[in-house]
Symmetry: C2
Subunit: 259 residues, 2 copies
Amino acid sequence: MTTAHSALQRFVTRLLLRSSLTPVEQDTILGLACRTAHISARHEIVSPGKAVDHACLVAKGLAARFDQMRGGQRQITAFHIVGDMCDLHSVVAPTPAWGIVALTATTVLFVPHARLRAMACTHPAIAMAFWRDGTVDASILAKWIGNIGRQDARARLAHLICEFGTRSELAGIGSRTSFALDATQEQLADALGLTSVHVNRTLQRLRSEGVVSTRGHAVDVLDWERLADIAEFDPTYLLVNQGPVESPRFRAVTDRVVN
Amino acid sequence: MTTAHSALQRFVTRLLLRSSLTPVEQDTILGLACRTAHISARHEIVSPGKAVDHACLVAKGLAARFDQMRGGQRQITAFHIVGDMCDLHSVVAPTPAWGIVALTATTVLFVPHARLRAMACTHPAIAMAFWRDGTVDASILAKWIGNIGRQDARARLAHLICEFGTRSELAGIGSRTSFALDATQEQLADALGLTSVHVNRTLQRLRSEGVVSTRGHAVDVLDWERLADIAEFDPTYLLVNQGPVESPRFRAVTDRVVN
DNA sequence: CGGATGATTGAGAAGTCTCAACCGTGGTGG
DNA sequence: CCACCACGGTTGAGACTTCTCAATCATCCG
């Protein structure tokens, strides 16, 4: 219960980064009844191509979305940290082509689609917030394509570190320059379109350049400016600080003015 | 007017591939008033980081979403064919980090966010359809990451051809095995994370293997099975045929049953 | 202490890039 | 009507990044 509530609270906090929700709307989300599950590392939370009837909120640990190749190789397409509702997409597309795996021992809340859909229908502002959350995901995905497609290994890794730090800070679980990255080098490789050997060498290079240091899975960014420069990191794509988007309950009025 | 209406009709048809909409809802969309614009090849339709107050529906031609690198290189993150509402995301996130460029001479309809937002609020089914459309985009983006991150040049190009053919067929502007791909080899390279030189050689290889042939920008797939095999193409990620998702107007009833 | 997992290292192979030149075609101005 | 130009496609050769395979090291845990 406490776990569930604090996870939902994190989710609401995440939504509030980009959407405004009234106390009532927030409480509606906080009141979601859902099942808690503990998933051990490397176990699938969602299997590719299999229909689901619930979304998954990460309450503890680290999860990742992946694409599975024929040869058994995997490509990680997103990291889901605490407070992320992975697979919110599945509310409108219940059979995802991707899978979701727990990278560490992870606690997730299963939230029934039916409830989420009902909430979205009753509260347009919540529907907008959900839609927006999916848009943020798409924006990050597009950036990853740029990162993988047009940057070399060093810049790719640097970008991943910048993003993870920034997101950790936004989620309130660390600072940009000091946070936990509980993924193995092989998992980082799967996210970057590289091999673990090359990730290892690239990470060594960043360390030797004095840009980052690591103790276990704790990352310290020693020179954020330089790291961001290497990565060509521009946080715009995370879509925070978009400025006020009028919330749906004012829409009717706005329309009259605009049109 | 005719252009506008036929483009909106294509957009509705596209939505109907994955969402069910009542005649009234369809007419609401078809009734959208919007401005038509002709964009010449290589001109930007949306500039990265610049706020917009309208979405863009492609009525003619080919557009692409891109990520701009510091050195001037571009990574294309999506192709937008006729009937695609590119940037529907911008309704909920008006300042995109990406840009949109016309690859050929293109006709677009600018649809004001205010109208779309109002429609989404009045018709929950339309809101769901829009949200779902964004989800399809995210699914395609994720697949592209897998394609670029974990496949070699030959498989990447094959996958792009399979996807483009499938989407052309779904959009009613060609068949899987015979369609127009109005992009230069350099633009294909920008989409695949390769150089144009390497795309050229890779395309030659696919031709010499008897898998595809091209006349100008017309593509003929000579051996779909083999091409799909090379690409590891599985159309699941396009999220058609997801099976019936109950439409929002039945939700109240459904909820009572489900919960 | 033994075993497992993940990090590290080395050496050679493969894929892709870079640079530069050349070709082919369609459009344009004289 | 022809010469020319621009753009996109094609080719070649060498360089460089990244991969592959394999071994070794370090750490954690039972």
